[in-house]
Point group: C2
Chain length 366, copies 2
């Protein structure tokens, strides 16, 4: 069920929203190197983070990210822990000084949480919210006004639960702060106007346990003094994210995933592939047997959320799909229905298998 | 160079102070399961943290820890991220309310950092410091007085840099808070008087990226309101450390390491083995060719720090040892000399190989 040969293993097609499927050749490489990494005589899990062999892995990931995303020298790349959830706090601690205010675009559960955490640190407001639309559409850029004094404008680039995604970002005077946990590296992105990007690794980047932060250096000049050392971006920026022991294994596997992406042709190539994958499913959501509850212009290429016309058939759809090796298709418990997460590593063949399954299921019940 | 057969791989004996060597059979199990965990059709790195198969791994580690350490129901076990360094901040945020003070026993660089971070959060003082002795001895318990009003007494149970270890903990009215990063699971421990234990995983527990916190439940009743959600122990205690995506792979490997430890006979058995391992090296530190700079009663069984009588031979000692497959023996840059870290997974055969090497080196130069 993968693009590469997998005769040796039982593998399902895993539509999990995260942690999510990884490229089979990444897993096979990690497996081959697990006990003795490249003749070093030890596993990556056993290496001193101060050793040259680990240093090459660590900086290798940073270099790959810089190359893939065309990140300029005016940005630092930080390899942290704690997930996007800890960034909900670290962003305002570092970027929201006393007496200023930050604006949040509330397009889903994660954005709501980010705003709530910012409110514990300082002044933060919702510039707009689509809660009244059940987050099933994104706001039009003309639907909201950013506070011209805002210290930053926070945006969740892709909303995993509702299944929406920003295809163009709003422009604002304030630097954009992007939670790109669920679509980083899935497409090219411009850093114009971007102050900071953060992303938990476990969707498009690698295994859980790693959080990538990309921050414009000049913003670090205004970080308040006296923050806890580990929560101050400058600690990690000044030490190349080696202030304390980093999550070495997750960094290593993320590096393998980036190498895989570069071999595929980088972000242009993966973006085309991701669009094609999503189109295979969206083309079946015609409003007949299957429908999309999401505003067409807001639909996510990463998380395709859909319903059956007869919702009472959904549990049978899920159990039959699982029997066919198509697993983790259940929608988030807060919205129900079906969700197919089609991150970078989800193979085209797996999407086609889901499409065939959908057609067969419809033919049986329609 | 391992206790179990390793004919298929090149393996060095890795005396790294952390991240550190892991049991070969743990690595081999992780390797075997990497692409398809136990017939699930996916890697542990790809699993939803809400899935039953991951849940068994997650709670399996908690259960192993509880069994190995004889942790009672009055303690919660938290599986966190960020290392001991983040605990330097989380401990006082949660346990040091306004108007109270905490006492720190300063026996090394890590204790100093812990105290400095506590000082950013509230009132904290050094109850005693052995800095004037270069941290080469631990204070006698009668050498310091704990503030009878202290909200807790913080202690680093083993000091990796200097090479000292508490073999008996001081008693105090205030609950003990123990940084046990470098000796947790290396010996039985009593929880009498212990309020909280924290430990980065990357020495005796498993790979980097996981931090274990064991906290007495009643202390969570006094956590100040309004903390950032991710930094509030209650968040993780109330959600079994599944509030957000945990570091699944590190938890899985730590679980394998705990299973290995249980098979060996648990903490009594490993403590005997660890003492025997340390004795093999300490018995050679007679003050002749090799010497220990550490007060005998304070010596660590985990990190055996020593010097050559002729310190100018130390770099040759290190390079010759590396040629013999005995690596990462260099002392911490702040103290120099030699350091052999002998954590749980460092095989007896590896210690004997080091002892033989020491004897040969001495015979050559003495």
């Amino acid at each position: 069920m993968s693009d590469s040969a997998a005769d040796n293993y039982y593998r399902v097609t895993n539509f999990s929203a995260g942690p999510a499927t990884l490229p089979l050749e990444v897993l096979e490489q990690a497996q081959a190197d697990l006990v003795d990494y490249q003749g070093s005589g030890m596993s990556v899990m056993e290496m001193s983070h101060r050793s040259p062999v680990y240093d090459a892995i660590h900086h290798g990931l940073m270099t790959s990210l810089r190359r893939l995303l065309h990140i300029g020298d005016d940005y630092d790349i930080l390899l942290l822990q704690g997930g996007a959830s800890l960034q909900f706090t670290m962003v305002p601690m570092n970027l929201l000084p006393k007496g200023r205010s930050a604006d949040y675009v509330v397009t889903g559960a994660w954005a709501k949480k980010a705003l709530a955490e910012a409110g514990k640190v300082g002044r933060a407001r919702a510039a707009v919210s689509t809660a009244n639309d059940n987050f099933q559409r994104l706001p039009a850029i003309e639907d909201f006004e950013v506070d011209p004094e805002a210290t930053y404008l926070h945006l969740t680039t892709n909303n995993t639960i509702a299944g929406t995604q920003w295809h163009d970002f709003p422009t604002s005077e304030a630097p954009l702060v992007l939670d790109a946990s669920s679509d980083i590296l899935s497409r090219p992105m411009s850093f114009d106007g971007v102050g900071l990007v953060y992303a938990g690794a476990q969707k498009n980047l690698g295994p859980a346990g790693l959080t990538v932060v990309i921050v414009r250096r000049d913003l670090l000049d205004h970080v308040p003094e006296g923050l806890p050392t580990m929560l101050d971006y400058r600690t990690h920026a000044s030490k190349d994210s080696l202030f304390n022991t980093p999550p070495c294994w997750s960094i290593y596997v993320a590096g393998l995933a980036c190498a895989w992406l570069e071999k595929l042709g980088g972000l242009e190539a993966i973006a085309t592939r991701n669009r094609n994958k999503a189109d295979i499913i969206y083309s079946r959501l015609t409003g007949g047997f299957y429908r999309s509850p999401i505003d067409p212009a807001s639909r996510s290429l990463m998380n395709v959320v859909f319903r059956l016309r007869d919702e009472s058939l959904e549990s049978e759809f899920l159990s039959e799909a699982a029997k066919a090796g198509l697993v983790n298709l259940k929608g988030h418990r807060s919205v129900g229905g079906i969700r197919a997460s089609l991150y970078n590593a989800l193979p085209v063949a797996g999407v086609k298998a889901l499409a065939d399954f959908m057609d067969d299921f419809e033919a049986h019940f329609a």
